[in-house]
């Protein structure tokens, strides 16, 4: 049971390319954690559902546009 879990977890991480967002998450975490006061209590909460993409090259909106691009696109959508 236990080694089954271990094997499937290891296999997942070794066969899946790291997502492009990981570097940003890593540096945000580092910046945030290293600026905590010494007595800070930190809670990490995961929330919401995961999505299962069917295509490898699925274009992610967040990567496609800059903030400004999003804003103006959406503004025109609203008009």
């Amino acid at each position: 049971m236990s080694s089954e879990h271990t094997a499937s977890i290891r296999s997942f991480y070794s066969s899946t390319p790291a997502p492009a967002s990981l570097a940003g998450i890593s540096s945000s975490l580092h910046t945030f954690l290293s600026s905590r006061p010494p007595d800070a209590k930190v809670v990490a909460i995961t929330s919401g559902g995961t999505r299962v993409p069917l295509e490898q090259n699925m274009v992610r909106f967040g990567q496609q546009c800059t903030q400004h691009g999003i804003t103006s696109d959406t503004t025109s959508y609203l008009d």
Partner: protein, 400 residues
């Protein structure tokens, strides 16, 4: 890094696109309501909160603002004397309304003061301020204060892979950071020493740094996913026949929190494995079931096999009314776990909103911010849940 407010704007905007791109993914939709609510209550209790959420899902405090704006829209509609003014209960504010309001406030331009001017005015003109309006404004305003903003880190995921890689990073970052201490001084042996000294003396406990961390795994992770190697490389072609998709079981990464991934995986029952992701913090997993007869059994099994500190067990249809907090009894690994029932409070009675206003959670769609459920922020079940989690965490730190 974005400011949180920029992030909120981004969240609202990205929510819009979910409507257009769902054809190329299977979505494990969850509103994120519980996670956002817990984040609020932990922030208000002074905790520092890392909020790793599905992009476009509910954000702490934004949901309150969404509710407020829904009230405003309804009021405007009724002032216009529209024959079919939307009632508050049926109004489900979508991203567009909130987006418009956020654009009005020009967040880059001395945002904090301007932001809620319109809302305050709204509260004043309405004559008899709507129930909760003041409280909502006050809490949203507190959230926008630099002090609370500085304690809040929003991070996003979308796919299962985003989540699983992010989760590993989140756990190990906390582990490594709190192993060396905030100053960066090498104190890797401190946790053990601190634990020993606090156990042997009655003075103020100095629990291991990592024990001050909590991890609440409230995200809904798909049970199945498509391995990267099996995924179509390019856009799926439209075709005549049915689409057949083979999915594999998503690995139970919860196992790595305490057990690590070393090949032997032979950690003793008493201690976490050396390469465990989150060996010494307070870990809480969530169990959502539809069959009440298996709920506690499964929660207990999760408590034991993953060696988390607590499991929040809840039934799909009553999850906003009641949860059960299942915890191990001190120092008795094989004893029956302690089960604490946590029930949503009752409405204030003085201007509280009718309970049917809390029933819209199931109807929420991606891109729509939950505006009407649950409305009674002060009595929602996450209030006593967070209090119970904090109490359990405090008690556990004292035992170190």
């Amino acid at each position: 890094m974005h400011t949180t407010w920029d992030h909120i704007r981004h969240h609202i905007l990205s929510g819009l696109t979910a409507l257009h791109s769902d054809v190329d993914a299977v979505d494990n939709f969850s509103s994120g309501q519980r996670g956002a609510s817990m984040a609020e209550h932990f922030l208000e209790a002074g905790y520092h909160v890392i909020f790793f959420h599905r992009e476009g899902s509910t954000l702490p405090f934004v949901r309150r603002l969404a509710w407020l704006l829904a009230q405003r829209e309804a009021l405007i509609a009724s002032h216009k004397g529209a024959a079919a003014a939307p009632s508050v209960s049926s109004s489900s504010l979508n991203s567009f309304a909130l987006l418009r309001a956020l654009q009005e406030e020009r967040p880059r331009n001395d945002s904090v003061k301007d932001s809620f001017q319109f809302a305050l005015q709204f509260a004043d003109v309405s004559g008899s301020p709507l129930p909760h309006t003041r409280a909502v404004l006050e809490s949203v305003r507190r959230f926008k204060q630099p002090e609370q903003q500085a304690r809040f880190l929003p991070l996003e995921f979308s796919s299962v892979a985003d989540y699983l890689f992010g989760l590993r990073e989140l756990c190990t970052s906390m582990r490594d950071h709190f192993a060396t201490g905030p100053s960066g001084a090498a104190t890797s042996s401190a946790p053990t020493a601190a634990a020993v000294s606090s156990a042997s003396s009655q003075s103020a406990p100095s629990p291991a740094l990592q024990r001050r961390c909590l991890l609440l795994l409230a995200a809904a992770v798909s049970d199945y996913h498509i391995p990267a190697a099996d995924m179509a490389l390019h856009k799926l072609e439209s075709r005549a026949g049915p689409l057949r998709i083979d999915m594999q079981q998503t690995p139970k990464t919860l196992h790595a929190l305490r057990h690590g991934l070393a090949a032997e995986a032979s950690s003793s029952n008493a201690t976490a494995a050396e390469d465990a992701w989150f060996p010494s913090g307070f870990a809480v997993s969530f169990k959502l079931e539809t069959d009440s007869s298996v709920l506690l059994r499964k929660a207990t099994a999760a408590l034991r096999s993953y060696r988390v500190n607590a499991v929040v067990a809840n039934m799909l249809h009553t999850r906003y009314q009641q949860v059960q907090l299942v915890t191990t009894r001190t120092g008795e690994d094989n004893a029956e776990p302690a089960v604490q029932s946590i029930v949503r409070g009752h409405g204030s009675g003085s201007g509280g909103l009718p309970s049917e206003h809390t029933q819209t959670a199931e109807k929420q769609k991606p891109g729509q911010i939950m505006a009407t459920a649950p409305l009674e922020f002060e009595v929602e079940v996450e209030v006593p849940l967070v209090a119970a989690l904090i109490a359990a965490h405090e008690a556990w730190m004292q035992q170190a």
